[in-house]
Every structure is written in structure tokens, then in C-alpha cells.
Amino acid sequence: MQLTDRHREYWRRNLRLTGILLAIWFVATYVVSYFARELNEIVIAGFPLGFYMGAQGALIIYVVIIWFYARSMNKMDREYGVHEGED
């Protein structure tokens, strides 16, 4: 089995996407929680922001990250011809 340049490019793009999404995950989780005390000073619709991010905001971001990753990768599989046959 020989990998072509296109294969390598596919993997590089996968790594880049993974890295970006992981960075978003990191910020939404750790950076936001780290500053939760300060963010709690801001209140939106009754919710202190730091609390809201932990209780709901971060969760919504996680769901979106995973949805976006699945969609992008499934598209990229086709673009690079590494997708599986139809079942």
C-alpha cells in the first residue's frame, strides 16, 4: 500500500481541523472556567455568564464541534476519494 501526496494532504487537513476544533474545545472549557469568577459579573437574561457557560454554553459548543467535524470529514473523504463504498 503506497500513500500518495493527496493522501498525505488529506491527513494534514484532518490534523489541522482536529487542532482547530480542539483549541475551541479548550477555550470553551478551561479558559472560560478559569475566568468564571470574572465572567459572572456579566448577567444576560438572568444568567451570570460564567455560570451559564458551564451549565449550558459549553455543552452547546461541544455538540456543534462534533457535528461540524463529522460533516467536514465526511465531505473531505469524498473529496479525496477515501470514502467507503455505499452499503
Binding site: W11, L22, T29, A36, R37
Partner: protein, 725 residues
């Protein structure tokens, strides 16, 4: 079935489960009508228990199988949506269903570590593991370690870690099953455990993964309906808005305002609270005095006398009550319980007294603010209260103390979130589920559905906690003891560990510091708080049961598969015929299940800590080796062995030296990190171990490197085949 295409299969599944959901709702409505006609509550409990277990058994029997791929990975044709539901049920245990909202109620912001940790981990599953494991496509997680790193040693360490983690966890689930069954049917706890065991075995015994998958989907539907209905109702009742996740912003404001009032002795409510707190303060001093006396006696070697004297006191009280013709039956029952549960050893007595002292201390302090992140000790506030003329130096010192405490809390919060997340992405019973989808593509989508279905519950739990707090602060605090709300009186009568309410300052009114609420109460009592009929309470119990059973199924299967597939088939007898492999697997399943049920029936006390510990252990043992196995071709056998052993070793060592259950002390902690978050050290050490060990030895052989390429691309020309049939 064989002739069916995947699309037809999917359509058929959607039809079956829609009918099923409709059927379940109809069943609840029929019971509700029967309740109105006078069906007693205890019957409703029995009917729910029997009907749901019979249902799971039915699905289990219909899915019985003799094929290896069906037994281990449900034939690899579970559509993404349904695998998502099954993962949701597999994932959400009794602790999520019943305990989570209560933890949030009690801990406020700090409890959110669980909400974030147990959902954010799926991001790691999606990005680092699920698609690659699916492409690899065998049966267990140790399978991957064995193939990727070669030799039996990495596989064996994987088997050991998988069993260690899963067994602790499954004991906790069976314990939960026992609790729910006994509470809602009045059966003994031990009998409840074995009833639950039957419920677990009927699903997994005959049909393995296939049966577990289709029962878990059914269990998810029940548990999510049971969780959401009472919360939505409560939300409508308090805010007029049927979407609790949006509506509870208002409730937060109201709760925060009330917290301020309760903590301000200048208001009527605050003054009443202060009087109760003073009583708690006296009690705290009393308990601490007793503890000091006990400690001195322990040092002098005479603690046994105190134990005997205390026991005699409790026994005397029971004897007096029994001799008294006017004694209430409840008082006698309480005294009997006190005798029965009297601490057998000095250590246990000390533990019980310490708990009483700590409990009194917590109640003597101000109400913690629900939304405040990482609150300090309140040293500054206390100083200014005790001594309004404190010098600026004193104030600065107190403030520094508060900040230190707050920073330690923040550090522990972040570390716990990290361990729960990485642990989620390393639990074998979850990762195993991604072997069951038809393709890599579906595996990716399936992680999305998994988190979506888990999200529905987890993002409701914080709303439920706040709405329950609103109810307690507004409708219970300040009400008269003569006219307590019905739910309070009911639960206080049933179980004093869940609800205890005593008029300590004898003013006839309820103060917050007079109420003790057990964390499990919040979910269990929500239907009554919301004023719903008993049938909804029965449904919530059925939901909790579904959560515990489904998780236990997945875990048991993981353990028995690790033993039968990885140890027996791969290492002992690779030529074993299919029938014998499945027979061994089923036999082991039975043995492990009985062992777990027996352990649970002993009521091991520190079960909750152990569940938390499972995440740190799994994270340290599996995550580095699995992720580097896909993302770093250079990782080799020695690296994996060192990494897994070092990660697991550091994690276990840290728990052993810092957790009091093992005789450890808090003074051994590194940077004040609590033992539950030991993975914060184990995971980096694990990564370091894999990297160093790999660099010390040669790069893996060409066929292993090809295996890595194989898992990285969903499809390659001239690809090798690793799929197990």
C-alpha cells in the same frame, strides 16, 4: 433479515421504536387513569418494575444470537442515530439520572464540573478515537492495543485496566438498581439487588451486544421521557415557560435575591436563620468536644470503653422506649435502626461523629451562593462581622486567605473536568459502542447523536436544580410546620436520609438551616414538587432503573468480553470454535454479574468515590496509548507498556497516599489536588511514558505502520484488512 439493505433496516427500526414510544406513553396514560380510579401507589411501583423488566427481557430474548459478530458488535449495522441513543443509555448511569441534579443543588457552580466533564469528553471521542477504532473494526479495546503494539503484554495490561475500571463502575450501578427497586416496591435492598441482576442478565446473557444495543435504545427512550416531563411541568408551574433551560434565568435571579435575604440578619427571614445557625454552632462545638475526647482516648488506648458506653446508651434508649406503653411506633423503629446501624468499630464511630460535626459546621455557616464560582472561605466577611474595627492588615490577611481557598477550588475544578473528560474518552464500554456502526462515516455521525442525546439530559439538570431550589426557598422556607407541603411530609416520613426537617428553634416556622436534603431527593421528588400524580413518580423510578440497568449491561459485557475474547480466545486458545467462545463468554458474564451483585449487596460505603476514581484510572491507563497509537506512528510496544503502567501506577499511587479510605492523608496532596482528580498527573505521565519508551527502542515494523495508515483513512486502495468477522 440478511436480505434487508441498511436503508430498509433503518426504516424498520424507526417504525418499531416510534410504535414503542407511543406504546410506552399509552401505558403511562392507562396507569394514570387506573390511579384516578383508586389503584394504590405501591401497585403502580410494582407494575412499572415488572412491565419494564419484562419488556427488556422480551427484547433480549428476541435478539438472542449464536454468531460471534452479532454477539460482540451487534453485527456492525447499528445506524448512527440508534447507536447514539444506545450510547446515551450506556453512558448515563444512576448517578447521572438521579444524582446529578442533586449534586448541582448542593454544590452550585462547583457541581458543573460533572456537567462539563461528562459531555466535553465526547469531543475527544469524536476527534481522536471513534472513527479510527471503527476503521480498525475488531471487538474490544484491548484488541486495538494488541494489534497496534504487538505481543500479548499491551493487550494484557489493557484487559487488567478495563476490568478494574468496569468492575468498580458496575458495582455502583447494581447498587443503584437495588436502591431504586427497594424504595419503590418496599422490597429489601438485597432482594432489590438480585431482582435488578435478573433485569440485567435477561438483556445481555442471550444476545450479547446485539441484545444490549436494542434494549439500551428502549431504555434511553424511557429515561429521557421520565427525566424531562417533570422538569417541564415544574418550569411551567413556576415561570409559565415550558422550556426550563431558558426559563430558569428568572429563577436564578429570584434564588440569588433570596440567598442575600437569608444571609442578612437585619431581615426577618435572616434573623430567624441566624437563630438556627447559632444552635448548629453549639452542636458543632459539642461534637467537636466529643471528637477531641475520642481522639484522646484513642491515643491513650481506652477508646474501646467509649464505644461500649455509647453502644449501651443507644441500647438503653431502645429498651426504655419498648418499656414505655405510650411510645410511638416510629420512635421505636428509629431506635431499633440506631442499634442495628451502630458503628462496630472505633474508627467507624469517629467517622460518624466527624460527619455530624462537619454537618453542623456547614449548617452554622451562611447559605452559599448558587452561581458563585469557587467561593472562598468567607474569612473576610466573618472578620468584619466579628470585629467591625479590624485593621487594614487583618482585612488584607483574611482576603488573602479567601483568595487562596478560591484558587485551590478553581484548580481542583479544572483538574476534575480534565479527568472526567479524558476518562470519558477512555472508558472501554463507551468506545466499544463505536465498533457497532456500519461505517466510519456513520461512526462520526454517531458520536454527534450520542452527545446530542446525552446533552438533552445534562443541559436540563442545572435547570432542575435551580427550579427545585426556587421551590424550597420560596414555598418551604418560612412556611408553618403545621402545614408543610405534602411532598416534604411524605419524604420525611419515608426516608430521613433524603429529607429531614426539624423545628430547631421552636418558632413553628421552617428555616433553611432546619432542612436536610439528600442529593437523590431532587429528581425523585420533582413529580411531587410539581404536583404531578404518583404515576409520574413511578415513571421517574422506571427511568432511573433504565439508566442503571443499561449502564450495567454495557459494563458487564465489557468485562466478560475482555476475559473471553482477549484472554481466552486471543491468548489461551486461538483455535477455539465459535460455539465454545460464546459459551465461555456467557459463562463468564454470569460469574462476573453474580460477583458484582454480591459486592453491591455488601453496601460498600465509598462507592461514589470509586466511580469518580474510575475516570481517572481509565484516563491514565488508556488515553495516551490509544491516541498516540493512531496519531504517532513511531509509538511502539515498549512505549505503550511503560506509558500504560506508569500512568496507571501514578494514578493509583496518588489515590493510595491521599485518600483516607486507603489510609492516605490530605497532607500528601500535590498542589492541593484531591484524589478524585488523580488523572491530572496520570495522563501526562502516561503520554511521557509512551514517548520515552518508544524513542528508546526501534520504530515499529512496517506492517504496524501500515496498520496505522489503515485506520487513518476510511478507505484506501490496496488496503490491508483488520476487520474481525
Amino acid at each position: 433479515m440478511a436480505a434487508q439493505t441498511q436503508a430498509q433496516f433503518y426504516a424498520a427500526l424507526k417504525k418499531y421504536y416510534s410504535f414503542y414510544t407511543g406504546g410506552f406513553i399509552a401505558f403511562v396514560i392507562v396507569l394514570a387513569i387506573l390511579e384516578q380510579l383508586g389503584l394504590p401507589a405501591v401497585w403502580i411501583g410494582y407494575i412499572f418494575l415488572a412491565a419494564t423488566i419484562a419488556l427488556y427481557a422480551g427484547i433480549g430474548i428476541m435478539s438472542k444470537t449464536g454468531e460471534v459478530a452479532e454477539y460482540y458488535v451487534a453485527g456492525r449495522r447499528v445506524p448512527a442515530l440508534f447507536n447514539g441513543m444506545a450510547t446515551g443509555a450506556d453512558w448515563m448511569s444512576a448517578a447521572s439520572f438521579i444524582g446529578m441534579a442533586g449534586t448541582l443543588y448542593a454544590a452550585g457552580y462547583d457541581g458543573l464540573a460533572f456537567v462539563m466533564g461528562w459531555t466535553g469528553g465526547y469531543v475527544l471521542v469524536a476527534l481522536f478515537l471513534a472513527p479510527y477504532l471503527r476503521k480498525f473494526g475488531q471487538f474490544t479495546i484491548p484488541d486495538f492495543l494488541g494489534a497496534r503494539y504487538g505481543g500479548n503484554l499491551p493487550r494484557l495490561i489493557g484487559v487488567f485496566a478495563a476490568i478494574l475500571v468496569s468492575f468498580v463502575y458496575v458495582v455502583a450501578q447494581i447498587y443503584g438498581v437495588g436502591l431504586i427497586t427497594s424504595r419503590f416496591t418496599g422490597l429489601e435492598f438485597q432482594i432489590g439487588v438480585f431482582v435488578g441482576l435478573v433485569g440485567i442478565l435477561v438483556c445481555s446473557f442471550l444476545g450479547g451486544m446485539r441484545a444490549v444495543t436494542w434494549t439500551q435504545v428502549a431504555q434511553y427512550i424511557i429515561l429521557i421521557i421520565a427525566y424531562l416531563i417533570p422538569v417541564v411541568w415544574l418550569s411551567v408551574k413556576h415561570t409559565g415557560n415550558p422550556i426550563p433551560q431558558i426559563a430558569y434565568g428568572q429563577a436564578i435571579q429570584a434564588v440569588t435575591a433570596k440567598e442575600k435575604e437569608l444571609n442578612d440578619p437585619a431581615t426577618a427571614l435572616g434573623a430567624a436563620e441566624a437563630s438556627v445557625r447559632a444552635i448548629h454552632k453549639e452542636k458543632q462545638a459539642e461534637w467537636e468536644g466529643k471528637l477531641k475526647m475520642l481522639d484522646e482516648a484513642i491515643a491513650a488506648g481506652t477508646a474501646g470503653d467509649i464505644l461500649a458506653a455509647e453502644r449501651a446508651k443507644v441500647e438503653q434508649k431502645l429498651a426504655d422506649l419498648k418499656a414505655d406503653p405510650n411510645a410511638e411506633a416510629k420512635a421505636i423503629a428509629d431506635a431499633e435502626k440506631a442499634v442495628k446501624e451502630f458503628p462496630p468499630t472505633v474508627d467507624k464511630l469517629r467517622e460518624a461523629w466527624k460527619k455530624s460535626a462537619d454537618g453542623a459546621k456547614a449548617k452554622a455557616g451562611p447559605v452559599p451562593a448558587h452561581t458563585t464560582a469557587f467561593p472562598g472561605k468567607g474569612a473576610e466577611k466573618k472578620l468584619l462581622q466579628d470585629n467591625p474595627n479590624a485593621t487594614p492588615e487583618e482585612i488584607a490577611k483574611a482576603r488573602a486567605e479567601d483568595e487562596k481557598e478560591s484558587d485551590i477550588k478553581r484548580r481542583n475544578f479544572l483538574a476534575l473536568v480534565f479527568c472526567l473528560m479524558v476518562g470519558t474518552a477512555a472508558l472501554p464500554h463507551i468506545l466499544m459502542r463505536y465498533y457497532t456502526t456500519p461505517s466510519v462515516r456513520e461512526a462520526r455521525i454517531s458520536v454527534f447523536w450520542s452527545l446530542f442525546f446525552i446533552f438533552l439530559l445534562y443541559f436540563t439538570a442545572p435547570a432542575l436544580a435551580v427550579l427545585a431550589k426556587y421551590e424550597v426557598y420560596h414555598n418551604l422556607v418560612g412556611s408553618s410546620f403545621a402545614a408543610l407541603p405534602a411532598w416534604v411530609a411524605n419524604w420525611a416520613a419515608v426516608d430521613s436520609t433524603l429529607m429531614k426537617i426539624v423545628d430547631m428553634n421552636k418558632d413553628g416556622l421552617v428555616q433553611l438551616a432546619e432542612i436536610t436534603i439528600g442529593p437523590d431527593l431532587i429528581v425523585l421528588a420533582t413529580p411531587e414538587i410539581a404536583g404531578l400524580p404518583y404515576v409520574i413518580s413511578g415513571m421517574v423510578a422506571a427511568g432511573g432503573l433504565a439508566a442503571a440497568l443499561s449502564t450495567a449491561d454495557g459494563l458487564l459485557l465489557t468485562i466478560s468480553n475482555a476475559l473471553s475474547h482477549d484472554v481466552y480466545y486471543k491468548m489461551i486458545d486461538p483455535n477455539a470454535p465459535t460455539t465454545r467462545r460464546l459459551a465461555v463468554s456467557k459463562g463468564l458474564l454470569l460469574v462476573v454479574a453474580l460477583l458484582a451483585a454480591y459486592t453491591a449487596s455488601l453496601k460498600p460505603g465509598d462507592i461514589l468515590f470509586l466511580v469518580g476514581a474510575a475516570f481517572s484510572l481509565a484516563a491514565s491507563a488508556f488515553f495516551p496509548a490509544l491516541v498516540l497509537g493512531v496519531f504517532w506512528k513511531r509509538a511502539n510496544q515498549l512505549g505503550a507498556v511503560i506509558g500504560m503502567l506508569a500512568g496507571l501506577g501514578v494514578c493509583m499511587y496518588y489515590m493510595y497516599t491521599t485518600y483516607d479510605f486507603f489510609g492516605g492523608v490530605a497532607a500528601n496532596q500535590w498542589w492541593d489536588i484531591k484524589p478524585i482528580a488523580a488523572g491530572i498527573f496520570g495522563v501526562p505521565i502516561g503520554f511521557l511514558g509512551v514517548i520515552l519508551g518508544s524513542l528508546l527502542t526501534r520504530a515499529p515494523a512496517k506492517d504496524i505502520q501500515e496498520l496505522v495508515d489503515h485506520v487513518r483513512y476510511p478507505s484506501l486502495e490496496g488496503d490491508i484488512e483488520t476487520r474481525a468477522a
